[in-house]
Every structure is written in C-alpha cells, then in structure tokens.
C-alpha cells in the first residue's frame, strides 16, 4: 500500500512527489507478533525505497533519552556528517 508520509507537525515534509511505500496504519506499527512473511518483503524492497543516496534526509523531532529534550534531526548533520543507526533492544 502506497501512502504519503504522515510526518509530525514539528517536522519538515518531504518534497512533493516523494512517497513512503510503507503502510501507515498506526495500530500495525507496534506489532505484538513478529511475522517474517510480513517483514521480509520490506527488506527486499529497501533498494527501491524512494529515499536513497543523493536525496535529502527528512528531519523529525525525536526525544533524547538522556534528558527528555526534543532534538530536531537536522541539528545532527548541521555541522558535519551524522551516522544514524535505527534499532531496538529486541
């Protein structure tokens, strides 16, 4: 299912025409059961995912675990390169 990214109000929107090729139903995001059949196609499709080198990184306000302050992602790359690793404990 193709959908326009529903970025939060405090973030920059992606350029017109950019689309997130990711289902956006909130209730499915935090799944209770891992399903390889559901998740594996996303890994296979990552190369075709619209965001890629040469493009512009979207910025969102994220909560800093350290102090609770909101950090705008674009501050991370304001002065130099930033490495972003996405993940979770599990």
């Amino acid at each position: 299912m193709r959908a326009i990214s529903t970025a939060s109000a405090s973030s920059e929107t992606m350029d017109a025409g950019d689309e997130a090729e990711i289902p956006v139903k909130g209730e499915e995001y935090n799944y209770a059961v891992f399903d390889l059949g559901r998740e594996e196609p996303k890994i296979q499709a990552f190369g075709e995912f619209s965001l890629r080198p040469g493009g512009r990184a979207p910025s969102f306000a994220l909560e800093d675990l350290g102090g609770g302050a909101l950090v705008e992602m674009k501050e991370l790359w304001a002065a130099g390169p930033a490495i972003l690793e996405f993940g979770s404990f599990t």
Partner: protein, 152 residues
C-alpha cells in the same frame, strides 16, 4: 567508532524504533513510557554511549527512512544522504564514512563531483547468537521467528 571521528564533527546517534521481536520480557510498545523503559534497558545492557533518540510511538521517523529493523544511514552536512544500508555492519559503515569524509575534503581542490552508486554488502549472520537475543525478549519472540518448538 563515534569517538574516533568526533574530532571531525561526525555525530553518531541511535534512533530507537518499535521492538523488532517483541516477547514476554520486552513486549511491543503501547506507550512512550514502554519505549523509554526498553531503551534504558538497551543502553545499560549494551553499554551504549551514543545518544539514544526515541522515535514517536507511531514510528514516524522509522517509516520515513524505510522501516527496517536495524538500518544505518550516513547523512552529510545540510541533509544530503551519503549512505543507506539495510543492516548495520561496523566495517561497512566505517568504509562508507571514510569515503564520505575523504571526498568532502578533496572535493574543491580536486574538483570532485558526487555520483550515485549501489552495491551489495556482506554481514555476519550468527543464528545462534540471534536466537539468544530472541530468548532475552521471551519464548514468544523465539517461536515467532523460528516456529513453534517441537515436542518430541
């Protein structure tokens, strides 16, 4: 690695997403408090020194960047994407970062222009170590991935 490059104004952060393999011990998030709790456990257990930033509960940033469970991206000054990887491999990231920094340094003097290239990379996939990580999340996480345990 982050410390080695800190003097070159390279920032390194961990963006905390949904639980990739929820189980009895670490369930799927139903609130930001759940997420904070899990992220603190992760920080302590894995001795994470980088800042940990929490995506919102709906996974807004995670979805915008492709929603894979352990991606790494390198973003250049001003927001240009330099590197996009489906998985996190230290050696691959370091090679990409070195190439990025090298190109940026030489860019003006040597009249360099960036161009897009793609390749496949390799990562170690230790299934036994991965099973142990799933066991830490709970038996459900193990059976969700490997299938139900057969009773002999």
């Amino acid at each position: 690695m982050a410390r080695r490059y800190a003097n070159r104004a390279v920032r390194s952060v961990f963006v905390y997403t949904r639980e990739a393999h929820p189980g009895e011990s670490y369930r799927h998030h139903t609130s930001m408090d759940d997420k904070r709790h899990h992220a603190r456990a992760f920080k302590e257990h894995c001795r994470v020194e980088r800042p940990i930033l929490l995506d919102d509960l709906a996974g807004t940033a995670h979805r915008a960047y492709g929603m894979l469970p352990n991606m790494t991206w390198i973003i250049g000054r001003g927001g240009v994407i330099h590197y996009k990887a489906a998985w996190t491999d230290r050696a691959d990231i370091e090679a990409a970062l070195n190439a990025t920094l090298d190109g940026l340094e030489r860019r003006v003097a040597e009249q360099l222009a960036p161009f897009h290239s793609e390749r496949l990379a390799w990562r170690v996939r230790d299934m036994e170590a991965f099973r142990r990580e799933l066991e830490r999340a709970g038996a459900q996480a193990v059976s969700d991935f490997f299938g139900p345990r057969r009773e002999d």
